[in-house]
């Protein structure tokens, strides 16, 4: 299964999918194997697992674009943060 295919069941736009894949690769992810949509009060939160069992949590804002990415756990270290000063 390709990296993009794991997002087929998620409510995310293609442009955002491409960005997620790009960022995860940049921060050390191997081939992606699972993308799960988690229940949230606001926005979209994804748990993504790669073939080496690394886990990433991608948080999209209410507007549907990436705000932060954490690794290992839902409150783990932030490896990417979109900044609007």
């Amino acid at each position: 299964m390709s990296d993009k295919q794991i997002f087929e069941k998620t409510p995310i736009k293609e442009s955002v999918i491409n960005k997620i894949i790009s960022l995860l690769k940049k921060y050390g992810a191997s081939a992606l194997c699972l993308a799960e949509t988690l229940p949230t009060k606001i926005g979209i939160t994804l748990r993504i697992t790669d073939v080496s069992n690394k886990v990433f949590f991608v948080f999209l804002g209410g507007h549907g674009y990436i705000e932060i990415i954490r690794k290992d756990s839902i409150d783990g270290t932030i490896i990417y943060m979109a900044m609007d000063d």
Binding site: K19, K41, T45, F59, D84, D85
Partner: protein, 533 residues
């Protein structure tokens, strides 16, 4: 014939002058009475405006305000009439002096004629000239009388010339001055001083010097101007103004009041910024500062920043237009407590409703075809930049801000930086890298976010123009201080960054908030609940 006309004109001018003086006195009294009425009306308005425990005014504010307007109208009318009366009095004074000069020119010519007639009198058949001489003397004395009357009516005095003829045919005129020895005009002109005493000789030389100087400096004209000015100053400071002579302090206080009422009150920085050039505006603001220094003192004004000065001008002008101008005490209070100039009376419920409306309007822009994602995706980088500028302009309309639509672009493909609002430049910065990125359309949400920051700054400086509560203004203002603003670049966590008032507000406004469990906003503002959008 001519001297008769001049004399008639002199009599008319004297009568006109008396009438103008009476009108001036009348309108001055009217203006004084109107000023007292204005002060009393303000006092009644202030008393009526006091509120009871429920916050309701204790008196009839509408009626009291109407009284103020009426009293002000009366004062304005009286001052207008007084101004006209003063101008008329001045006009008549000038005409009188012109007539005095005309008489003096006439006298100079006729004195020449008198000399020639005297020559004829000494010759054969000279007796024929006697009648002409007598007639000439009579006319010159008539003119001189008119001249004296005009000068007297202006409160001026001059030497009294009296023309006579002698049995030998010579003519003289004598100038009467109290206590002085007389020296005739002909003696001055001819230099016939051989019979002078020492005193007369000294006087003679003094008069020759004065005459020479006056001729050189056209002193008569200058003296006329000085005398006219002295007359005006005396009348302005007359006992009839207050029933007694005004003190120096009263004159200065009236001048200050006039400056404050008619000039400082009419300067509104917000309005002037849109009317005049930047250079002219700065000059006017500097003059406003100078004027305030005259009213309340330089020490009180010197610590006011330009933005505080601008705010004060808006408050002062607004109060003036509402018929309740700021008093000196009010101005001093604002200057000593500048924070009090930026106070909002908006209720939180109104603020929340307004923010929801603004948010809706801002995001509705994205539904328009010109700002749609389809349009964006098919645009070049250059076209995307134009879309961003257009978005800023339309957001200015939504929020009431005045952010410069020209964006500053920078390039950063390492951090997740998308943009920033630079308050001192009133501009937005955008990371140009994003425009060619996968998520490039997200930058329009960044524009909404940054414009909200612009709105926050605008609200603090113009609380009267926005629907933002004092509580929110204080939270934003405190957060904006450099030492209070949290940022990951400073080592703060993401949660600390997003939880601070201005970022919590801007993130929510732009619908960028993700589902983060550790966010504890220090001030919720209008975004009290995290709801699914």
């Amino acid at each position: 014939m001519k001297i008769r006309e001049i004399k008639q004109r002199a009599e008319n001018l004297i009568e006109q002058g008396e009438n103008a003086k009476q009108r001036q006195v009348h309108y001055q009294q009217q203006a004084n009475s109107a000023r007292v009425q204005v002060v009393a009306a303000y006092a009644r308005l202030e008393a009526a405006s006091k509120t009871d425990e429920q916050g309701n005014p204790v008196g009839d504010v509408t009626s009291a305000r109407s009284d103020v307007y009426a009293a002000q109208a009366l004062l304005q009318s009286a001052e207008t009439n007084l101004g006209e009366a003063n101008r008329q009095l001045e006009r008549v004074g000038r005409q009188k002096m012109d007539t005095v000069h005309e008489i003096e020119r006439y006298e100079a010519v006729e004195e020449g004629n008198m000399s020639k007639l005297a020559e004829l009198q000494r010759k054969r058949f000279g007796s024929n000239a006697n009648a002409f001489m007598a007639d000439l003397v009579a006319r010159m004395n008539s003119g001189e009388q008119a001249r004296q009357q005009l000068l007297h009516s202006m409160g001026l005095s001059a030497s009294n010339k009296n023309y006579t003829t002698t049995s030998s045919g010579s003519h003289t005129y004598t100038s009467t001055a109290s206590g002085d020895e007389k020296i005739s005009n002909s003696e001055i002109d001819t230099g016939n001083t051989h019979s002078f005493s020492a005193t007369q000789l000294s006087k003679y030389h003094s008069l020759r010097r004065l005459l020479h100087i006056a001729q050189l400096l056209d002193l008569r004209q200058k003296l006329t101007s000085v005398q006219a000015l002295e007359m005006l100053m005396c009348e302005a400071d007359s006992e009839q103004t207050y029933g007694r002579a005004r003190t120096h302090e009263e004159i200065i206080a009236d001048m200050r009041k006039s400056v404050r009422d008619n000039w400082l009150n009419n300067f509104n920085a917000d309005k002037w910024k849109n009317i005049v050039s930047e250079a002219q505006y700065k000059e006017r603001l500097a003059l406003y500062r100078k004027g305030l220094e005259q009213i309340v003192g330089e020490n009180i004004i010197k610590n006011l920043s330009d933005s505080q000065l601008e705010r004060l001008s808006v408050i002062q002008n607004t109060a003036f237009l509402e018929g309740v101008p700021l008093s000196i005490g009010d101005i001093i209070n604002y200057c000593k407590n500048p924070e009090s100039m930026f106070v909002s009376k908006v209720e939180r419920t109104a603020e929340i409703a307004n923010d929801k409306m603004l948010q809706s309007q801002a995001h509705d822009l994205l539904k328009a075809e010109r700002f749609s994602e389809d349009k964006w995706e098919e645009s070049t980088i250059s076209q995307k930049k134009e879309i961003i500028s257009s978005m800023i302009k339309e957001m200015n309309v939504v929020l009431g801000t005045d952010v410069i639509s020209e964006v500053e672009y920078y390039y950063d493909d390492i951090s997740g930086s998308r943009g920033a609002f630079v308050s001192n430049l009133n501009k937005i910065q955008i990371n140009e890298h994003i425009l060619s990125d996968y998520e490039s359309y997200a930058v329009l949400y960044t524009v909404i976010h940054e414009m909200r920051h612009a709105y926050q700054h605008y609200a603090i400086n113009h609380p009267e123009k926005v629907v933002v509560s004092q509580e929110t203004l204080c939270a934003w203002k405190e957060n904006m201080k450099a030492e209070n603003y949290k940022s990951p670049q400073k080592g703060n966590t993401y949660e600390e960054y997003i939880s601070q008032p201005i970022e919590w507000d801007a993130k929510n406004f732009a619908k960028q908030i993700p589902d983060i469990i550790d966010i504890v906003p220090s001030y919720l503002g209008s975004w009290e609940e995290i709801i699914d959008v």
